[in-house]
Each structure stands twice: as structure tokens, then as C-alpha cells.
Symmetry: C2
Subunit: 147 residues, 2 copies
């Protein structure tokens, strides 16, 4: 005798679920990062900017910052205003190009970035623990396909 599956979810419903789970997981991790970084006086945006500047090892044009952070330049203008107000970055003139402004990390900024990196590492470890029953390689491959 033929049975009808009760509570069956169609493929479309599962796809929708998966899509929103991806969005929600991303947001949840962002929130964990924001919370952890708030403990050392940083936001994720500020930490990201400081990290790119530290990795570059030298002051960067605001346009270069925008490229590295994949955002528009007017966003960087404002972010640098806030970082400068916090004393974490200084705007310096570019002697080669008088249109340009370069962002230099201050000593306090470098310390703050290092403290932030420790907080990020904790979130990262907690996430790894959460995902300990998962094939990390497969997950990484799936996520990398999403552009």
C-alpha cells in the first residue's frame, strides 16, 4: 500500500532554508566578532582597517584601503575619521601625490589591533569547536564557491 510522507518539505523549501541559514550563520559570527572586539574598544570595521594597515607595514592611500576592504571610498573617509578620533590612526600627506592622504597606524592603534587579534582568535577557536563534527574541508569548498 502506498504511503504518503507526512511533513515532507519540498526541495524549494530546503533550498530556502539553506540560503537563510547561510545568511544567519554569517551574521551570527559577525555578531560574535563585534561582541568580542567591543571588549577591547574596537568594531569589526575598525579592526579590519587596522589589520590591513598592519599587514601592509606602511601607510596606505585611503583608496587602497577601500580596495582592500571592498567598500566605497566615502566609507573609508568616515571610518578614518572615527579611527583618528580614537587615536588609532593618523592621516599623513602623501609627498608623491598631493591629492592623496595616507593612513598611518599609531602605536596605540598597533596595540589595539594586537588585542583585537587575540579576541578574534578566541571566536575562531569557539567556532571550530562548534563545527567539530563537520568535514571542514567540504564546508570550506562549498563556501568558497559562493561569490
Amino acid at each position: 500500500m502506498k504511503r504518503f510522507r507526512i511533513q515532507q518539505s519540498g526541495q524549494g523549501e530546503q533550498d530556502r532554508q539553506l540560503m537563510f541559514s547561510l545568511v544567519n550563520a554569517g551574521r551570527a559570527i559577525e555578531q560574535r566578532l563585534e561582541d568580542a572586539l567591543a571588549g577591547v574598544g574596537l568594531s569589526l570595521a575598525k579592526f579590519g582597517a587596522l589589520t590591513h594597515l598592519m599587514e601592509a607595514g606602511e601607510p596606505l592611500n585611503l583608496s587602497e584601503c577601500a580596495k582592500k576592504m571592498t567598500c566605497v571610498r566615502s566609507n573609508i573617509t568616515q571610518l578614518m575619521d572615527r579611527l583618528e578620533a580614537d587615536g588609532l590612526v593618523r592621516r599623513v600627506d602623501d609627498p608623491q601625490d598631493r591629492r592623496a592622504v595616507r593612513a598611518a597606524v599609531t602605536e596605540l592603534g598597533a596595540e589595539r589591533q594586537a588585542a583585537g587579534a587575540k579576541e578574534v582568535a578566541k571566536v575562531q577557536a569557539a567556532l571550530a569547536a562548534t563545527l567539530n563534527g563537520t568535514d571542514h574541508g567540504a564546508l570550506q569548498r562549498a563556501l568558497s564557491a559562493i561569490k
Copy 2:
């Protein structure tokens, strides 16, 4: 003879990669949804609010909206201002509680929500295609663990 693995990434580095891939994947999907919804005059925030109201089938308190959308109430105040300016929602008095304001979807709002749902379905289908070599069940379970 013992070999040294060149270019080996430590576990920590892979964990960091995975964490940021999750954040980036979530943002990428949000961006796809924003782009698709922009085509019918909606943002993801507006579509979400309209969808919750349509699912409820009746006007909802702004506080109830905030709870469903997991955001603070002042955010809903502003979102409703914009939805009202668009003619997609109307604020109506709650006769039971004179403090409360309820959001009612207009006819135009209902049409717009339906159009948005079609756009969302397209994004969803494209994502499913992108993930066609992946074990959706395993991915869903991993994502659901992230809170």
C-alpha cells in the same frame, strides 16, 4: 627520509579562513538578495518586514514586528516610516491598547511582497545550483549549529 611539507597551513589558519568564509558567504548572499529585490523596489529589510506581516495575515504591533525580525524597536519605527512613505504599509491604531501602533500591509505592499518573493526564489535557485556538488544535509546541519 623525512620530508617537510611546504606551504603548510596550520590548523589555526584554516579555522580563520573558515570563519571569514562563512561571514563572506553570508554577505555575498545578502548582496545577491539586495540586488534582486532592488529590481522590484525593495530592500531585504523591507521585504522581510512585509513577509512577516503577510505571514501573520493581520496587522502586527511594531514590537511584535521587532521580535519577529530580531531587531530593536527603534529600527522598526524607522523601517515603518520608509515603508509608509513607499505606500506599502499603513500605521493603524490598536483599539485594545492606545500605546500600540499596528502595521497593516496595503494592497500595493502585498503585490510588492509577492514580486519580491519571486526574486528571492531566483536567488535561491541560483544558490542551489552553485552548491550542487555539496551535501546539502551536512551543510544545513553545520550551519544550524552556529548560533
